[in-house]
């Protein structure tokens, strides 16, 4: 596969995952604004902004509805849902012949739908209907991707993008929430705090899955354990990294290249730090540092994927 194509598929996938995460963050936090809460509006939305990486061109101005609208629709803000979809489509357009027609059509439909809506209604769409519909559209795209595309190298790069983005987003979210959660690690949450934790789980679509494992009693150590270490839940860090590793190994095998030492080592260590650990170990140490290490390893993995498969020098390639 062409390196440029791998690059575009990877980024298409990352942007779509990012759009989905952003939509969910906005939707969940809008919902939480309806109840009285232990967190102030300012604290809440600043945290949302931090979870989205404090995007350029937008900040807290005491009007959450406007903030959500901008983060959803404004094509001038690079982190907005619309911008993510435009970027994803642009990447897909660069590799139009590598993805299936069904994928392209679905992405195109979403693109026209979102951008037309903005040009017709500006920032006045009914978000309550709009946000869930975007998520539905993205889920449909993933379903189409998984059922219409060969699960070869191309698909594996899509997987890498999706799970690396998801892992980084979840780790980042936990990093923001953990000081508050860990103030009372083993006590079941009540009242307003309970709402917050439900919110955290919902941001990762994890509430129902959590309840199945631990019932609706929320304690900090369980929430953390579930989002970090659950091996079966698709939005947990461990699951995401397992999938990422799976894709890396598959690509490595099919490319028939020499062992890619650094990439194998870094991603393997990342996987091990989630697979062979118990939540008590994490809580007994510096949890923040643990999360930072994970984020750091995610970034390294991203850089190494780039260096091995996409932007390598001609000399190294000819030497092989």
């Amino acid at each position: 596969m062409l390196s440029r194509v791998a690059d575009s598929l990877y980024w298409m996938s990352r942007y779509l995952e990012r759009a989905e995460h952003t939509v969910r963050m906005l939707d969940v936090n809008m919902g939480l604004m309806l109840d009285k809460s232990s967190t102030s509006a300012e604290g809440r939305w600043k945290r949302v902004l931090a979870a989205l990486g404090n995007p350029h061109g937008v900040g807290w101005e005491d009007d959450y509805y406007r903030l959500v609208n901008s983060l959803t629709f404004d094509p001038e803000i690079p982190a907005s849902v619309t911008s993510c979809l435009i970027e994803a489509r642009e990447n897909a357009r660069q590799v139009r012949d590598e993805i299936s027609s069904e994928q392209w059509q679905q992405l195109n439909r979403m693109y026209f739908w979102v951008t037309q809506d903005y040009s017709e209604n500006g920032l006045n769409t009914r978000l309550a209907d709009f946000l869930p519909a975007v998520i539905d559209g993205l889920h449909l795209f993933q379903g189409i991707t998984d059922t219409t595309m060969s699960h070869g190298e191309e698909w594996q790069f899509i997987q890498m993008g999706r799970y690396l983005e998801r892992a980084s987003a979840t780790a980042n979210l936990l990093d923001l929430y953990h000081p508050e959660i860990l103030s009372t690690p083993e006590v079941a949450a009540e009242g307003r705090q309970y709402q917050e934790w439900v919110g955290l789980l919902r941001c990762c679509t994890a509430f129902e899955a959590y309840c199945k494992v631990y019932t609706a009693d929320l304690t900090a150590d369980r929430v953390l354990e579930f989002l970090l270490l659950n091996p079966q839940f698709p939005h947990s860090l461990r699951y995401s990294i397992d999938c990422l590793r799976h894709a890396l190994v598959a690509v490595h095998l099919s490319s028939g290249r020499q062992p890619v030492d650094d990439l194998t080592r870094v991603s393997g260590r990342l996987q091990a730090s989630l697979s062979f650990v118990q939540v008590a170990d994490i809580l007994s140490q510096d949890t923040g540092a643990y999360l930072h290490r994970i984020l750091q390893q995610c970034r390294q993995t991203h850089d190494l994927i780039f260096r091995f498969y996409i932007q390598y020098s001609v000399e190294t390639a000819l030497a092989m």
């Binding site: 390196s3 440029r4 791998a6 357009r93 139009r96 026209f112 790069f157 690509v251 490319s255 390598y312």
Partner: protein, 486 residues
């Protein structure tokens, strides 16, 4: 069908018949036999059903991304190619004649290219003036003496044909560089089959779907010697090119990689593409990038679309490019005037398909006639295509004619003039029912181990009433072309 009963149909109330050849009706207003059931089907469809099918076709073009980019209109320039549902029908006998004519013409043009870039016999013998060839902007000195596989220069050609009022098909121009539009031919057919399955099934239309497979085997037949299982790629200028959809479509249908200049690297005169598995050698490049932009070292140094060193690899015989460099001399509009002579010279045959009468502005007598009669003529810049840089005399203002007169006098080699042609019209669906519109026909000719043409081509339509310009960039559309088994 009876004249009276057909034209009583409200769909045909605005249908005009005059001296212009009409593809659907004879001069007496009788439906041509091969158009009979097509027209009947359309006349019997309720108008809202036609509108419904049209909408569903438009939508499917848009969601499939079958769009083209218009230059000079800023952002958001993706448009669907306007599409007409009423097919253009050609009889098998007519097609056989066209096919023979095109095969003859392409064979001769290819021999001409080989000759000009080698011994230049035709120039020595004075059948084509030396200065016409050497003054052509598309002439590539670098190609002199270079041997190309099988001596094939023009692998893919799109030749534009018109039908005159006599019913005769003539050649308006040859596109020998990077002709486009074939994807519209293929997707139109798919859409028609889906939209009018029954009509199609009963009509005996010759298939065209194997075009991409023919293209692939044509390209394979041109691989450098010793490369038995050649790697073939399609080189595109990228997503901002007006024909990008077509590039992706063809690459996909052939199952070859679609590469951009930045995907290719040259090392020791060998072309490689960058893949996730390392560098992979490339043998044949179906390039959709113009000569000028293909290698910044050999041609335009400001090009970022090309590959540095590609021309050297080509000269070393390590890679085949289709089409070859420098084929533009044979579709230069001044050289065009000599094509009948070229055919006679190399093949000793009379041209089967005639040219349109052409006035060379380098000839003082012809120039004088042309500049005095600009209101009756069409003037074209010799190196332009796509309907840019031309004057349509009868539809021009006095100012425009003055402007062109000045341009011609300043640079006579750069212009030719042709009579304004009364070319054929075919029935099209418009807001007012079915009306005749001017159409041309661009068949695609493949040349590798031999010449191959799929029956039909792209019929382009000048969608505005009375308009003579069929180019997509200038408000043209297309329709499916049905060549029948007689």
């Amino acid at each position: 069908m009876e004249l009276g009963s057909t034209f009583a149909n409200p769909l045909l109330k605005d249908y005009v018949l005059d001296s212009t050849y009409d593809e659907m009706f004879t001069g007496d207003g009788l439906v041509r036999r091969h158009y009979g059931s097509v027209l009947e089907t359309f006349l019997n469809l309720p108008p809202d059903e036609i509108a419904r099918r049209k909408r569903s076709v438009d939508l499917s073009f848009l969601t499939q991304g079958i769009t083209f980019n218009v230059y000079g209109h800023g952002e958001g320039t993706e448009r669907i190619f306007p599409y007409d549902l009423l097919p253009r029908v050609i009889t098998g006998a007519e097609w056989q004649h066209i096919e023979k004519g095109l095969t003859q013409r392409i064979t001769a043009l290819n021999l001409f290219l080989h000759d000009v870039y080698n011994e230049g016999k035709i120039l020595n013998d004075g059948h084509v003036p030396r200065e016409v060839v050497y003054s052509c902007r598309q002439f590539r000195r670098e190609m002199r003496g270079l041997q190309v596989p099988r001596n094939v220069y023009i692998t893919v050609t799109g030749t534009d044909l018109l039908r005159l009022s006599s019913g005769e098909f003539v050649v308006l121009e040859d596109n020998l560089r990077v002709p486009s539009g074939v994807s519209y031919m293929l997707t139109s057919r798919r859409v028609m089959k889906r939209t009018f399955p029954q009509l199609f099934r009963n009509y005996g239309v010759q298939p065209i779907e194997h075009y991409t497979q023919l293209l692939l085997s044509t390209l394979r037949s041109l691989a450098p010697e010793g490369r038995h299982d050649p790697t073939i790629v399609l080189l595109t200028p990228g997503v901002y090119n007006s024909a990008y959809f077509e590039h992706t479509y063809l690459a996909r249908q052939m199952g070859i990689e679609l590469v951009e200049g930045r995907d290719l690297v040259i090392h020791d005169n060998i072309v490689y593409m960058r893949t996730t598995a390392g560098l992979k050698r490339v043998d044949v490049i179906y390039r959709r990038v113009d000569d000028d932009f293909i290698d910044p070292l050999a041609f335009r140094s400001d090009s970022i679309l090309g590959v540095a060193g590609l021309f050297n690899a080509y000269r070393a015989g390590n890679v085949t490019l289709a089409n070859a460099f420098g084929t533009g001399i044979a579709d230069d509009k001044a050289v065009y005037a000599y094509v009948p002579a070229i055919i006679r010279y190399y093949l000793g045959e009379e041209p089967i398909l005639n040219n349109v009468e052409t006035y060379l502005m380098t000839d003082p007598k012809q120039r004088k006639y042309a500049t005095e009669n600009l209101d009756k003529l069409v003037v074209k810049a010799v190196g332009e295509s796509g309907g840019y840089g031309m004057l349509i005399g009868p539809q021009s203002s006095a100012e425009q004619r003055e402007e062109f007169k000045r341009l011609i006098e300043a640079d006579p080699r750069n212009y030719i003039a042709q009579p304004t042609l009364d070319f054929s019209r075919a029935g099209c669906l418009t807001e007012n029912g079915i009306e005749p519109r001017h159409v041309d026909l661009r068949p695609y000719i493949l040349y590798g181990d031999k010449v191959r043409i799929v029956p039909g081509g792209l019929t382009r339509v000048a969608l505005r009433r009375g308009s003579l310009v069929v180019n997509s960039s200038q408000g043209g559309g297309s329709k499916d072309t049905w060549v029948l088994n007689d």
